[in-house]
Structure formats: structure tokens, C-alpha cells
């Protein structure tokens, strides 16, 4: 039987008919359309039981309560905790992005030891036992040589049990070199000490104030406890509270204020003293709560006549008088300071002058006023016993010079660390422990800082992230992130009450990381002797529970402990500390005609935490475009340099030179250039690295003559077409 053409065609037609009558084509069409509607490579998030777990956010000092939504054991969303005394349900952009930090690829996932060149990024994974052994052998060796003081530790905070454990370790070990990173807290503590003669911090009853005079404080740009500030800002709007923002640039805080007073950068102290002089000369002061008024008054009136202040500050004389009157007429006026988020310490002169305004308004320790809040004192550990080696080490001067000589009044001077290491210190540093800080990015004059770090033979980083500093480290002992650990979070941040939050593990540790408190206790125990004796706790959780005592139950139950009735550290303000010279910007006026000032944005994390992808996504294309960063200038300033919007320019200062794009902004004083802080990372991942410019490359520290704190508010600069 031959299959001829007609038979074949018949077969094909039969096949086609049969196929059409079978489900094959129709089912395949349906299936392929379903397939194409939902590509299999698009992730499908697994469903499960939804639970909320409460904790405290510690990404900034704000201390907000958070409620984390979980689906089974995955954290899927961070929300503000309703009813929390700090944020009552609100949350900031960084707090919302926390899960990108928890699950993000920039985590350091296991302890590691450097095997390549420094900064090359070559590491060997090691076990925690090996890591602890490397650390303790190194430290024991140095200590046995009688050089315990050549070990330093830098941390983001000195309050709460974790920093306290690290401090205690340094003491028991025998090093005076525990350093807290710089912030407005430094100037605030010093001002409270100088004005009130006692240890404490300033708290502000913002919610009850009826006139707010802010000397550059970024009220809605991340100052203080950011969510509390947003809430206060809305409350002020509802109550028609006058808010005056004194600042050279129309920041968001200035934009939200009822009045923006542009000022020459760095002359805020002069304006505060000028306003004080008007108050005094017009008898609009309440001297009930101040001492030393007589001599101070004559100094003030002779040095700060309105005309002179007007010239210095660029604020019209009638505006100065107007501000003074507004301040005096209000029942509960409040003056605030600390530029932007308050990331730079600032000068004592400025802080004291602003706080003096509050004192002269009779608004100390009152509803709607400024409070002298005691430091939290719940950590009551017996003093760590020091053996001979430790005592000898502790007698040595600090590497940063704080607490002695001309720096007698300061506790920490991280801004002097680099110079100390680079040869100006009393001895070379052998080991640096870095916890919750990123000095290689955040300290001014990054070039100098990097040179200093290159000289330190052994750097240990406890960072959870591959930031610039951990990139320079020799040993990585990664901490859990805040969502994985227990920790007490004492909240300062300008609150006029005492608040302690509790961070609780919302999810189990995602990687082979270890709680810093645990690492410190383990290291101390491994070193034995008096060091081990100083750490009687078997683990961190026991330490935390015992330390918190009766507060523990409250914290476990509600997540937060609050003391609203403040017992102020002092009531009388001794007017002092305002006679120091003004802080000048570094650089020669002729070579560098402009003033460069950093500005803070709530959308750009300025502290230790690098901006997560969500936050970077919200940054305007006039701040970052591609990899390019921008500098903001008034159109007048730009046209004088022949520049216009988007142009590439060279921005140079005495400390460095960068290429940036120009963004024209009418809301900035002519002659001033502004650049966002917190960008220009070299570490992290492609979502953050190499975007924009790190303003710290351009600005160096300027020492406050009263304390040695960094008081740099800007630097002289030059713009030229690139």
C-alpha cells in the first residue's frame, strides 16, 4: 500500500480536525496566556498568619515605638506603634525602610578576617570562637606589654547597656579611650554643665510652647526625635504657634515655619545674643531664674548693639527687634539650636547663647519651656575593679585629648581622633574598636581620617553593614541589627521627659551575627582576671534584665518606660560661656569667595546608617542624578560663575575638590552653596555607592575654643565651570 499525496493530505486534514476537537490547542492557549500573565520568575510572596510584634527603633536617637507586621516568620512591614509616648503611630522614612537593612545584601553575614590588602575587600569567613580568640589574644598581648591605653573604642552612643558594656570593658582593660561620635549632644551637655552647673541634658516641652525660635535646628529635617518633631509641627499649625526659622537656606524647616529669617551662615550665636541685648535693653527679661546677670548684661549691651549684630548676621535691625518682641511677648517661648539634624557638636557660645534666651524668658523647667533633664541613671553597676595594668593604662592621657588641659570640659573629641593618630597624639594607637559608628564616612576631612585609619595597625568593626569603616577593618565581628536583638534604648533627643524603649528581636538572627553585648561579655570572660570579674553576667539578656531591675517588667509588657515628672538637675542659669570668639569658616576669602554649608534632609540618612534603596528612591533628581551630586546655589551666585542649572562644576575648598552639578535655588542666600550630607558613600552596594559627594571630603573640623568640639558649620569654597 502506497501513501500517495491525497492520502497524506487526508491524513493531515483528519489530524487537524481531530486536534481541533481535542482539548490540546484550547488548553495550551489558556495555559500559555496564564503563563504570560504571571511570569514564573516574578516572586510570589508566601501567605501566612499575620502577627504584629512591637519593638523600639534605634536607627536614630529618636526612640520611636514600632510595630512590625509579620507573615509567619517573615517581617513584611514596619509601622509606627500607636499610643507610644514618642511617636504615637507616626513613623519616619528611615524607620519605614528598616526591613531593607535587615534583609539587605549589605549585611555582614558572618565574622571575617581580612586576608587581602586593607580595603581590598578580601576576607576569610571564620567562626565566632576563632574571632573572639583573635581579638582577645591581640588585646591580651598589648595589655601585657603595658600598652592597654593604645586601644581605643568609638561608638555612636554612651548611654544604654550596650555602650556601657563596651565602656566598662575599656575601663577594666585599662584604656581611657572610649569615644562617642560627635553630635549636638556634646554641645548640649557642655552647655547644661556650664549654665546649670550640673550634669544633664536639655529637654524641650515643644508641645506646650507658644513661640518657637529656631536657630538653624532642622525641626522637620530630622532634629531631635524626628517623628515627635513632625507631630509637634502639626500641633503648632493647629494652635497657630509662631515658628521662626533662622537659617541661610530655605530648608524644609524654614518652609514650614511661619517666618523664615535668612542669616549669614555661622552667625546664629550673634543673632541670639543680639536678641538677648534687645530683651535686656528694653527690660523684657525675667531675671528670676538667672545668676551673674549684672556683669553679663554690661558685656552683652556693649558687644551686641542691634546695628552691629545686624551687620554681622545680615538680618535687618528691625527684624532683630521684632524677633525679640515676639519672643518676649509670648507666654511660653522656646529657643532651639543645633544645625539641621544636629550631627555636628557646635560651639558652646552658640548653644549657651540660645539657652540663655530661654532663661531670660523665665522659661526654665516650666510647662512649654526648657528643662534641665537628668541623665538616665538606671545602670547601677558596681565600679569595675582595675588591676595594676589597667590602672596604669587609665592614668594615660586620652588619644583625643578630651578631659584634660584646654579640653578639660569635653568628654569626647572624635574630631581630634584623626590628628591624634596621625602623630599629634601622645602615643600611637594600636587597636581601634568601632561599634555603631562609621567614622571613615561621617568624620569631617575624610582624607585625613582615612590616612589615620591606615596607620592604625588593627581595626575591629562590629558593624552589621559593609560600610566604609568596616571596609578598612582587619576583623569583622558583625552585630545583630536592631530587629534581631534585645536592647534598652534610653531616649534623649530633646525630650522633656525620661523615656526608655526596649528593642526586642522581631525575627531570629538572619545570619551568623552576634549581639555586641554578647561579644563584649564573651571577650571579657575569655581574657580572665579582673576583666572577667567585671562582667559577672552569663549573657547579655541576663545583664539587661538585672540592670533594668523593676523597669524590666514594664518594658517587657509595654515596650517603653516613661517618667513624665522630671526632677531638674538645677533651676538657676548662670549666664556664662558666651564670650568666646565666633567660629569662623576655614579658608581665605579671596581664594574662596563662597561659603559651603552642608544641609540635612530627612530623606538622606546622615548618621551611621547608609540610605536604604527606598530612601534613595525618594531623593530628588536635583540632589542626585545618575551618580552625580548637586550643589545648591542662588541663581545670582551661579551666573556670577557663568553657571546654570545642571552644569558640571568644580567645587573646591581648602580641604578638597569635587565635581558636582549645579542646582539653582532661589531659597538660598547669595554667596552660599549648600550640599546634602550623607551621600558619596564608597562602600555598601550599587543602590547607594558612588552616588553624590561626601561633603566631609570638603569640610574639615573647626575646634570650638571653649571645648575642642567640632564646631564647623561650613567652609569657604569656590565654584568654577568644569
Amino acid at each position: 500500500m502506497k501513501v500517495d499525496r491525497r492520502s497524506f493530505l487526508s491524513f493531515v486534514i483528519g489530524g487537524a480536525a481531530g486536534t481541533a476537537l481535542s482539548p490540546l490547542p484550547w488548553k495550551l492557549i489558556d495555559d500559555s496566556s496564564i503563563w504570560s500573565q504571571m511570569w514564573p520568575w516574578t516572586p510570589v510572596p508566601p501567605d501566612g498568619e499575620v502577627v504584629y510584634e512591637d519593638s523600639t527603633c534605634s536607627l536614630c536617637p529618636g526612640g520611636c515605638g514600632i510595630s512590625v507586621r509579620k507573615v509567619d516568620n517573615r517581617a513584611v512591614k514596619i509601622e509606627g506603634k500607636k499610643g507610644h509616648p514618642v511617636n504615637d503611630g507616626g513613623i519616619c522614612i528611615l524607620g519605614l525602610s528598616g526591613l531593607q537593612l535587615l534583609y539587605g545584601p549589605t549585611r555582614i553575614k558572618t565574622p571575617m578576617k581580612r586576608i587581602g590588602e586593607r580595603g581590598e575587600g578580601k576576607w576569610r569567613k571564620i567562626s565566632w570562637d576563632e574571632a573572639t580568640a583573635i581579638l582577645t589574644e591581640k588585646l591580651t598581648d598589648i595589655r601585657n606589654r603595658g600598652e592597654a591605653h593604645t586601644v581605643a573604642a568609638i561608638a555612636e552612643s554612651d548611654s544604654g547597656t550596650v555602650p556601657a558594656l563596651l565602656q566598662r570593658f575599656m575601663t577594666a582593660y585599662g584604656s581611657p579611650n572610649f569615644i562617642r561620635t560627635s553630635s549636638q549632644v556634646d554641645a548640649d551637655e557642655l552647655a547644661v554643665k556650664t549654665l546649670f552647673g550640673a550634669t544633664g541634658r536639655a529637654g524641650f516641652d515643644l508641645e506646650n510652647a507658644d513661640y518657637v525660635l529656631s536657630f538653624g535646628a532642622g525641626l522637620v529635617d530630622g532634629w531631635g526625635s524626628p517623628v515627635r518633631m513632625f507631630r509637634a509641627g502639626s500641633l503648632w499649625k493647629e494652635k497657630n504657634v509662631a515658628v521662626v526659622q533662622v537659617e541661610p537656606r530655605l530648608s524644609n524647616s524654614a518652609a514650614k515655619a511661619t517666618r523664615w529669617v535668612p542669616i549669614n551662615p555661622g552667625t546664629e550665636a550673634d543673632l541670639a545674643l543680639g536678641i538677648a541685648a534687645v530683651l535686656v535693653s528694653q527690660n523684657m527679661v525675667d531675671t528670676g531664674g538667672v545668676s551673674g546677670f549684672g556683669s553679663w548684661k554690661s558685656d552683652l549691651l556693649s558687644n551686641y548693639p542691634t546695628q552691629k549684630v545686624s551687620q554681622t548676621t545680615g538680618v535687618a535691625a528691625d527684624v532683630i527687634v521684632d524677633l525679640a518682641k515676639g519672643f518676649a511677648k509670648a507666654d511660653r517661648p522656646l529657643a532651639l539650636c543645633g544645625r539641621g539634624k544636629g550631627l555636628v557638636a557646635g560651639s558652646l557660645r552658640e548653644t549657651a547663647a540660645v539657652y540663655a534666651l530661654n532663661a531670660l524668658a523665665g522659661n526654665i523647667n516650666r510647662t512649654g519651656g526648657m528643662w534641665a533633664v537628668p541623665e538616665s541613671d538606671y545602670i547601677q553597676w558596681p565600679k569595675a575593679a582595675t588591676d595594676k595594668l589597667a590602672s596604669a593604662g587609665l592614668r594615660q592621657p586620652r588619644i583625643d585629648g578630651a578631659g584634660a588641659g584646654r579640653y578639660a570640659d569635653s568628654r569626647y573629641l572624635p574630631n581630634r581622633l584623626a590628628d591624634g593618630v596621625n602623630g599629634e597624639g601622645p602615643y600611637p594607637l594600636q587597636v581601634l574598636l568601632v561599634a555603631g559608628a562609621n567614622p571613615c564616612h561621617d568624620l569631617p576631612d575624610s582624607k585625613n581620617v582615612r590616612a589615620a585609619f591606615a596607620r592604625i595597625p588593627f581595626i575591629v568593626s562590629f558593624s552589621s553593614f559593609n560600610d566604609e569603616t568596616s571596609a578598612m577593618a582587619d576583623l569583622l565581628l558583625p552585630d545583630h541589627v536592631y530587629l534581631e536583638r534585645y536592647e534598652d534604648v534610653p531616649v534623649g533627643a530633646g525630650l522633656a521627659r525620661q523615656v526608655i524603649g526596649l528593642s526586642r528581636p522581631v525575627v531570629s538572627a538572619q545570619f551568623n551575627t552576634r549581639h555586641l553585648g554578647e561579644t563584649v561579655i564573651a571577650a571579657a570572660r575569655a581574657m580572665g582576671g579582673s576583666i572577667a570579674d567585671a562582667f559577672p553576667w552569663p549573657d547579655y539578656e541576663t545583664c539587661l534584665e538585672e540592670t533594668l531591675g523593676e523597669k524590666w517588667d514594664t518594658l517587657m509588657e509595654t515596650g517603653v518606660w516613661v517618667e513624665n515628672d522630671i526632677d531638674p538637675v538645677a533651676d538657676t542659669v548662670r549666664l556664662a560661656g558666651m564670650d568666646a570668639p565666633a567660629i569662623q569658616a576655614e579658608g581665605d576669602v579671596d581664594r574662596f569667595p563662597l561659603l559651603l554649608v552642608p544641609y540635612d534632609s530627612i530623606r538622606i540618612s546622615g548618621g551611621t546608617i547608609g540610605d536604604p534603596p527606598f530612601m534613595i528612591k525618594t531623593v530628588a533628581d536635583t540632589v542626585i542624578k545618575g551618580k552625580d551630586g548637586f550643589v545648591e546655589v542662588n541663581p545670582q551666585t551661579a551666573s556670577a560663575a557663568g553657571l546654570t542649572e545642571g552644569d558640571m562644576a568644580t567645587l573646591s575648598t581648602p580641604r578638597g575638590e569635587v565635581r558636582v552639578r549645579i542646582h539653582l535655588f532661589e531659597g538660598i542666600k547669595p554667596g552660599v552653596a549648600a550640599m546634602a550630607r550623607g551621600l558619596g558613600h564608597t562602600a555598601y552596594d550599587g543602590y547607594l555607592a558612588e552616588k553624590g559627594v561626601n561633603v566631609n571630603e570638603l569640610i574639615g573640623p573647626v575646634e570650638d575654643p571653649s571645648s575642642g568640639h567640632d564646631a564647623a558649620w561650613g567652609i569657604r569654597a569656590k565654584l568654577a565651570k568644569a
Binding site: 510572596p45 501567605d47 519605614l96 522637620v220 513632625f230 530655605l250 524644609n252 518652609a255 525618594t618
Partner: protein, 275 residues
């Protein structure tokens, strides 16, 4: 035996955003991104292709230093009602992928129906719609935080703000369990409303006099739902898109920025909405 199911009176979910309170902090944007599984890429500085259902625009009064003023304006989908639910995007969608719900007043977007023609993007006067030019890719490990309540979108479809409709669904689930047929005001709030640290966003049923948003907006149905609040305005109100997002500002220049006004025109005038 066909009968229409007993319905509650139709709702009209809407928003009142107080621009006097908004600080431009961007929390609403990120609250939305993390609630709705919005993807991100290494470079998000090309804002034309950067997906952000909630976008905060920066307005300036155009005056020179020192009279410059800034106002931030958060822009979710405006959930236009148009006339009878014929919002600009719904009218042009050839795939029935976007739709207007007479029950909630929410303009929906069904990703699996969308085939990416982007007519709706052209029709939307608010740039509230975004196209997925790329497959969403989360860095390794980060897909762990994705929420099962919202499907991640695939390449080639349009997406936009849904007023967190899944939250309405979940609130309805809870109501069913308690044998209730209405969703209380507090039980259904969008992620941006909940997050806003300044409390600038108020969300609820514009039809319900008990809801705060109604009390703020006081919509006037005889004038195309224009607000009776003198501080309130809507974006491009005179186009007749009849949006359900109302803005409040005490500043005249901000209210003027909401529409294209001639020099002699005052804000607060709505020309007749064509029928």
C-alpha cells in the same frame, strides 16, 4: 430568581491632604513602597521611569530670594470619578484592566489584564500611573519582606495607587467574621495615611458624614463635588476629572498652583463640568 445583593449605600473613599502640615519628609512614599511591594532599581534618578505610586512634588512660588516659598504636595492616584465613574484612564482602557468601582469609588488596576498599551498613562493628567519597563528584581534576600497582600507586578504592565484596596479587603474579612457588613473608618486606612508623621493625610468615605474626611472636605454634589472648605482645592479641578483627593492650603499661591489660572481668575471657581 435573580436579585441584587443587599448593598450598603455606595461609598466614596477619598483623601484630604493638609499641605500646611505636610513637611515633604517622604514617609508616605516609602510607606506605600513597602506596603505595595514596589520595586526599585540601582538608579532611580530618572523620575520619568521611577515607580512611586505616591509622589511628593515640590512647589515653589517662583519668587526670588528672600521671598521664596516652598510647598510639598503628595500625589497619590486621584481616583477620579469623572462623570458617573468615567475617569480619564478608565475610559480609554481597551483591556478592562482599569475600572471604577461604584461601590467604593476606587479606580482599580488589574495587572494580569493589562497588556501595557499605556493609553491610561497618556490619559491621566496627574502622572499617577507607572509602567514597568523592567522585571522587578529584589536583591538577594530582600524578597523576604514582600507582602502577600499585593501581587508583585511583571514587566510590561501599568501600575498605580489602589488606595491600599487590599486593606479594605482585609478589613471586610474581619467584618464578615464579626457578622458586620460595614468597615469602620479606623479599620480601613491607607498605608500613607497611617504612616504620615505629621498627620497631614486624612482618609475615609467622602459620602459618610461621620467620617473625618467628609467633615473636612464637605463636598458639594451640586457643584461637581467641589469642597465647601475655603482652604480646599483639587488638582486640575476644572478639567472635570472629579478627583477624590482634596488638598488643603492656607496659601493662595499654593491653591493657584493646583490648576491653570488666568491672571484675572480666582481660585475656588469651578466651571460647569460637562456632562
Amino acid at each position: 430568581m435573580k436579585h441584587e445583593q443587599q448593598h450598603n449605600p455606595p461609598m466614596k473613599y477619598g483623601m484630604a491632604i493638609d499641605l500646611d502640615k505636610c513637611t515633604g519628609c517622604g514617609a508616605c512614599m516609602v510607606a506605600c513602597m513597602s506596603e505595595n511591594n514596589i520595586p526599585f532599581r540601582e538608579d532611580e534618578s530618572d523620575k520619568l521611569v521611577s515607580i512611586s505610586w505616591m509622589s511628593v512634588f515640590k512647589l515653589t512660588n517662583g519668587k526670588a530670594f528672600p521671598d521664596t516659598e516652598i510647598c510639598y504636595l503628595p500625589r497619590p492616584c486621584q481616583h477620579c470619578e469623572g462623570h458617573g465613574g468615567h475617569s480619564p484612564c478608565v475610559s480609554v482602557c481597551p483591556a478592562t484592566a482599569t475600572d471604577y468601582s461604584a461601590e467604593t469609588g476606587i479606580v482599580s488596576q488589574i495587572y494580569t489584564r493589562c497588556f501595557g498599551c499605556r493609553y491610561c498613562m497618556g490619559a491621566c493628567p496627574y502622572h499617577a500611573r507607572y509602567f514597568n519597563w523592567w522585571d522587578p528584581v529584589w536583591p538577594e534576600g530582600m524578597e523576604k519582606y514582600l507582602s502577600p497582600n499585593v501581587s508583585p507586578r511583571m514587566r510590561g504592565v501599568v501600575e498605580k495607587c489602589s488606595f491600599c484596596f487590599h486593606r479594605y479587603q482585609l478589613a471586610k474579612n474581619k467584618a464578615y467574621l464579626n457578622d458586620e457588613r460595614t468597615v469602620p473608618e479606623a479599620a480601613y486606612q491607607t498605608a500613607c495615611t497611617q504612616a504620615c508623621p505629621a498627620g497631614a493625610i486624612v482618609f475615609g468615605d467622602l459620602n459618610n458624614p461621620a467620617h473625618q474626611v467628609h467633615q473636612i472636605v464637605k463636598p458639594d454634589p451640586r457643584k461637581g463635588n467641589k469642597s465647601r472648605n475655603p482652604r480646599a482645592f483639587r488638582l486640575l479641578e476644572r478639567l472635570g476629572t472629579n478627583p477624590k483627593v482634596y488638598y488643603l492650603s492656607s496659601r493662595e499661591w499654593v491653591r493657584r498652583a493646583g490648576d491653570n489660572y488666568l491672571a484675572h481668575e480666582k481660585t475656588g471657581q469651578v466651571s460647569n463640568v460637562h456632562h
